[in-house]
Point group: C2
Chain length 117, copies 2
DNA sequence: CATATATTTCAATGATTATTGAAATAACTC
DNA sequence: GAGTTATTTCAATAATCATTGAAATATATG
């Protein structure tokens, strides 16, 4: 990932409504959600929402497909994960402990025990 | 982490120079780097750099301490990791495969990948 | 104290961005 | 085709942001 792509993605996410939209799509998963459903869930005007979807799409963070009258938007997980990887790249010059690993957290909690030092 | 905090952090990172600064500090690790060293490395005017450091600091992404004449800036890894966690929260309703885990990558040799698919 | 170094503050300027309201397009149903 | 639903386009307005140059502050050294 290039710096400019990361800036574009971050800028797309750096807005309250768009961050809400994106996180909703992340939670919805690969099947996505209709624009109208998102508009209702987040109480956004449809034209405002289109504006924000466009930004997310230009940044490569979402895809769209038509289904009848509805437009279905979905998060691009590959892009999200590239972005996260870009931010943590070469962190701490290898001292991974300082820079704790981040994983995609499923809904249910699952913890593994660490042996005490 | 609250939505507003995440927006602040993302906005701080959504700027070419600041993203460069932050990534440099992430790579530098917890000891941080002097402002002047960052300025030289990234070829930024000192006042411009101060402006950007302020944004990063307001967003909680870096800390600063004085050492003689120098100001030493360091990334706040805790904040970075909260942000990454916030973005991936409840992703895919638990279908972790779709939403590949991201880990903090230690330093290793650069590798060009992807021969045309 | 005088001078050099490191960084910050301040004011001005140009550039980008989000929201709105009204109108347009696209698809479905009768 | 008329009417309805879902979404997009367009133009205008208001708000925020990055960079610059000049001057100020803080620390170190002779």
């Amino acid at each position: 990932m290039k710096n400019a792509d990361a800036v574009a993605a971050l800028a797309a996410l750096a807005q309250e409504n768009r961050l809400d939209v994106f996180r909703l799509l992340v939670q919805a998963g690969p099947d996505g959600m209709a624009a109208g459903v998102v508009a209702t869930a987040l109480k956004l005007a449809p034209n405002t929402l289109t504006f924000h979807f466009d930004r997310l799409r230009d940044a490569g963070l979402v895809t769209v497909r038509r289904d009848g009258r509805s437009m279905i938007y979905a998060a691009r997980f590959e892009a999200m994960n590239s972005l996260l990887g870009f931010l943590t790249e070469n962190c701490c010059q290898g001292a991974v402990e300082t820079c704790a690993p981040v994983t995609c957290k499923p809904v249910r909690k699952k913890r593994e025990k660490e042996p005490a030092p």
